[in-house]
Amino acid sequence: MPRRVVITACSAITPIGHTKEDIVNSLVHGISGVKPLREDDLLSRYIHSKVFGTVDYPIAYDFKRVYRKTMGPVAYYACQVAKEVFETAGLDSDFMTSGRLGVAFGSIHGSPTVQRGIYKTFFGGDRSEYAAIGAVDYLKSMVHTTAVNITKMFGITGRVISSSTACTTSSQSIGYGYEAVKYGMQDAMLCGGADEYDTTTVAVFDNLLACSTGFNETPHLTPRPFDVSRDGLVVGEGAGAVLLEEYEFARKRGAHILAEVIGFACNNNGGDLILPNLNGITQTIRLCLQDASLPANAVDLVSAHATATKMGDVIEAQAIHAVYKDSPQVIALKSYMGHTMATCGAIETILTLYMMAEGFIAPTLNLHEIDERCGMIRHVQKLVEQNIRIAAIQNFAFGGVNTSLIIKKFE
């Protein structure tokens, strides 16, 4: 018998803030987290896009060496948001280590910073450094470093799901975590994603001519999802984590419930690994509504993936209209902070939770003139006070992976 799954805590490190207060303030006042791309003595001088969704405030990490020694920058982000979620949630320590709590957490490719250090030693020919390449470098850099540094820090012995599907990484984390709790494999799951500052990621999109390059002198004016002047995506960094719990378990322990996860779908386009696919995206939206047992017109708000690429936004608008018509309001949260890669699904879910709690919908930033090819859906261009009951968060990734999540305000 499927069980109900609720969200009982969340935390995010984003280019527009860390605390809920700071993030809500940025959304309400239209503050962008896109800043000039930091120099890195590596690729930044060659990259044409000189903007980045930057986490530019200090974070007071307080990790003992026993944990730090296996952590690269991406794991620091992951463990910090996990720590904040667990501090908020107040789960019993026996439960945390019981095997009934699992972790679904990922990143694009582990820690590129540490990987570069390994390759520098490998190719550098300095024999004396060779011995330094070893288990600890692999542990810091491996693809599942975020998930298992969390399990290590908190003694978690349940399932580990470490999705690494580029932009759908953390939305899959939440979705698969939801399914693990819904179908009884776990009673709670810590779900999310993280990605660190890395110019190799920017270079990938830059070389595909997919990055924004026309606003290098005015970073706050990009990205511009759905806008006629959009010129590509902006890469960003950050982390986001949510705690999912089985509803009765949460209710009995008196947990504060933020929302309920009522639907998830994930599919693949079965073809091109880069171009978004109208049929694939449309189908995943439909499957998610089916999973939630909802008609399309029950959804109040769609948080679109909307990376501000020329064709991606058009195809997504067509898909949203095909299923939802012009019923829900549609926003593009990447307009505030760029594309935070693996963590975008988790961060965009958390920002939606904040808007749900505070009763407003933030407008899509930099949406001054809607591209007429995206004009058939209901864009939000000004802050509105609105009670959001049901919201859908959708994300799509290289490799043709599509996800849709539906959350419902808990009342």
Binding site: R65, V66, K69, T70, R127, A135, V136, L139
Partner: protein
């Protein structure tokens, strides 16, 4: 190097690199201080730096029996003697 210098350096490494202050010479490092295989590899790198020479693969394997600070100091003393850099005193 003398035995006293070896002990001083090993305790410095433990204090600064491993954040383990004042370990007992005969403390079981794993049980008392959570010293694990990752730390052991990092310790060998630090010992190489101290000796100014690389450890051979068999020498590294010998280190796997180490359990205490005293064992580490005995191990480094043996390596120093082999490299003809140890002095009594």
């Amino acid at each position: 190097m003398t035995r006293a210098e070896i002990e001083f350096e090993i305790l410095r490494i433990f204090r600064e690199e491993f954040e383990i202050d004042h370990p007992g010479m005969d403390d079981h490092l794993r049980e008392k201080h959570n010293f694990d295989s990752i730390d052991a590899i990092e310790l060998l790198v630090a010992i190489e730096s101290f000796l100014g020479s690389e450890l051979t693969h068999p020498e590294k394997k010998q280190a796997m029996d180490i359990r205490t600070i005293r064992h580490i100091c005995d191990y480094v003393e043996a390596l120093a003697k082999k490299r003809d850099v140890f002095t009594e005193g």
